[in-house]
Amino acid sequence: MRRTPRAGLACLSAAALLSGVLVDVRGRQGTPPETWQAWRDALETHTAGALDEPARLVAAWSIEALDAVRDRVRRQPDASRLVRRAVVLHTDIALLHRRADGYDLPSGPTTMTLVSDGSKVAEASGTFHWSFLRQLIEDLPDSQDRETVARLFYRATAALLQSWNEDPELSAHLAAARRLLRDDPVLLLIEGTQQQMYAGARAQRYYEIRRRQQEAWRPSGVVSSADGRITRGDAATLPPAFPSAASARSRAEALFRQAVRQMPSLAEARLRLAHVLLDRGRTAEAAGELARVVPGSLPPVLGYYAALLDGRLARTTGDLARAEAAFLDAARLVPAAPTPWLALSEVAMAGGRRDLAVERLSDASRVAAIGEPTDPWWALERIHVPSADTLVDQMRHAFAP
C-alpha cells in the first residue's frame, strides 16, 4: 500500500481537501476504508476456532494491508478490545492454515528449515500473522491489561509453535514476550524446552551436518557465517554457529531453575530440570529434583515422564529393582507407549534374566506395531501439560466478546 504524499495536501480546491481526507482515513500507510472496516467486521463476526468467511477473507491479505491496519489500531480508543479479538482471529488464521510443510498463506518474512531425522528436507516460509499480533500487543500502552493479553497470547501460541517445532517463529515470540513479561514461568519452561531440543540428538545431528558443510565450503581467506553470508576473516574468531549440546543443556538448566523459582509448583519444569541434570551426569541433583515432584499429583503424561526419568536414574545407579518398578509404572500410565517395555527388556538383560528380556521385547514390539497414539517420550520436545490446544482454547474463551 503506497503512502499518499503529504505534498498532495498543498493542492487547493475540493480535490486537495478530499486528498487530505483520504490521507487521514487511510492513515500514514494508506489503509483503504473498506479494508479497515472489513477487518473490524471480521473481528466481530469470526467464530473462534472456525475457518469461516471472515478468517478466509483476512487470510488472503498482504503484509502491507495488515501493516496499515496495525497503524490504525493503535489510535483507536478501544484498541485493547480490538487486539483481544485480533489475537483470536489471526491465531485461528495461522493455526487453521498450518500444514506439515508450512502455511497455506501468503509468504511471511521468516524461513523455516524443515529437518527430518537430523537432515534438512525442505524450506518453507512462515506467516506474518504472528509478527502482526506481536506488534499489535506491543503497541498497547504499558499496563496490566497489556500484560494480561500478552500472557494469555504468548503462553498459548508459544506452546503451539513449539508443538509444531516452528523454531524461528518461536524464538521471535519468546524474545518479544520477554520484553513484556520478563520472568513468566510458563514461558521460561517453553524456552528451556527449546534449549532441550537444541541439545537433543536430532538437532545436534543437523548442526553437525551444517558445520561440515560450512567447513567444506571455505576456501582460504573466506569464511561462511551461519546465515549463509560470506565474510572474510579468521575462522577462529567466528562465533559458534550452532549451539553445542553442552551449552544448550546449560542454558536449559538455567531456564528451568528460573521457572521453578518463579513457580515452585510447576511440576513439568522440575521434571525437565531433573532430565537435564541427568543428561549432564549430575545424578544426585537430578534425584533431588525428582523427589520434589509428587507422582500421584501429576497428570498421566507428566507421571509417565517422571516414571521414565526415575527408571533411568535407578538404572544409572544400578538399582535394577527400582528401575523395573519405575518402568512398569510408566507402562501402566501410557499402555500404548513402547519405550517402557524396551527399557524393561534392557533391565531384564542387565539382571541376567534373558527369557524375561525376550518377553519384554515382544511386548515392546507389539505396542510399537499399533502405530497410534504416539509415545509421549518421542514428542517431549514439543508437548506440554496443559497442551497447546488447551491453552489456545483458554485464550479464545478469555478473549470472547
Binding site: 527430518s116 531425522d117 537430523g118 537432515s119 528436507v121 537433543g200 540428538a201 536430532r202 545436534q204 545431528r205 548442526y207 553437525e208 551436518i209 558445520r211 561440515r212 567447513e215 553445542s244 549440546a245 521414565l308 538404572r315 535394577l320 513402547p338 519405550t339 524396551l342 527399557a343 527388556s345 534392557e346 538383560m349 542387565a350 539382571g351 541376567g352 534373558r354 527369557d355 528380556a357 525376550v358 521385547l361 515382544s362 515392546a364 514390539s365 510399537a368 506395531a369 502405530g371 497410534e372 509415545d375 517420550w377 518421542w378
Partner: protein
Amino acid sequence: MPSRRSGHARVALVALAGVLAGPQQPAAAPAADGSRQQAVFTASVDTVRVDVSVRQNGQAVVGLTADDFEVLDNGVPQRLELVGFEEVPADVVIALDMSGSVHGERLAALRSAAQRLLALLRPRDRSALVRFTERVLAGPFTGDAARTATDLADQVTGRDTAVVDAVHAALVLSATARSRSVVLVFSDGADTASFLSPDQVLDTARRVSTTVHVVSAAARPTTGGSGLHDTFLDDLVRLSGGRRLDVSSPDHVAEAFAALLAAARERYLLSYVPRGVPPRGWHTLTVRVRGRRADVQARPGYLAGS
C-alpha cells in the same frame, strides 16, 4: 562397492562368546579324522560358545579339531567340548533402518538387499527381522525365510533413527539362538531417537553369544563431532568380534550382506563349560591354534552374571 574398514583383518570372521541359557540339543561324537563335524552341544546352562576365525594367507583354514585349539578364559585353559565349522546352522537377525532418510528407491533397494540375503539362507538356518525408525519392531526367529521376507514389505511408522534401541532388540532376539548367532545391522544415519544408552547396549553385547556386523551408509563423524553415539557401531563391532562395511548407498547393501554372511559361515564354533574361573563378571578370552601360524580372531571376552 563396499569398502573394507581399516583396522580389521581382511577376513570377515568373527569371534563369539557368551553364556547360553537353557538346555541344548544332545551331542553327536566328533569325527575321528577331523573332517567336517556335526554341531555338538552339551546340556548345560553355563556353556560358553566361542566363534573363531582361522585364516592363513587369506584363506579359511579347514579341518581343525578341538585338539587344535587352545582357549584361555581369564588366563585359565579350558576343555573344549564342541567344534563345528561351516555346517553349523546360523540364526540370523537382520536389523534394518527404515527412518525418514530411507524412502522411495533407497527403501526399495534396502528391501531387495534383505530379500537377497534371505535367499542365501540354508534349510536349517533361521531368520528374524528388526525394523526400526524411532519405533522398533522385532519379530521372532523363524525357519520360514519367506515369512520374514513378507514382513519386510510392511511399512514402519516414524521418521527418526533409534539404532541403539534396535541393536538391543537384535541382541535380545539373538540370545534365543540355537548355535551360531549373527546380527546384521544396516543404518544410514546417526541415532536421533533411542531411549537406551550406548553403554547399556554394549553391555548387552558383552553378555550374548552374538557377532554383530554393521553395514553403514552414514557419513563418518569428524573429529570432535557432536558426540551422537559416534563410536557406538564401531565399539559394538569390536566387542562382538564383528565387522563394519561402509557403503555409499543402499544399492550396495546386498553385496555387503552377502559378503558378511559368507564370511560368517567360515568359522569354527567352539564350546566349553567354564572351569576354574569366577562365575560372574568380565572374562577375557584368548584363543590360539596349536602348531600353526594362522590369523586367529575371536571376540575379546564376555560378561557373565548380572
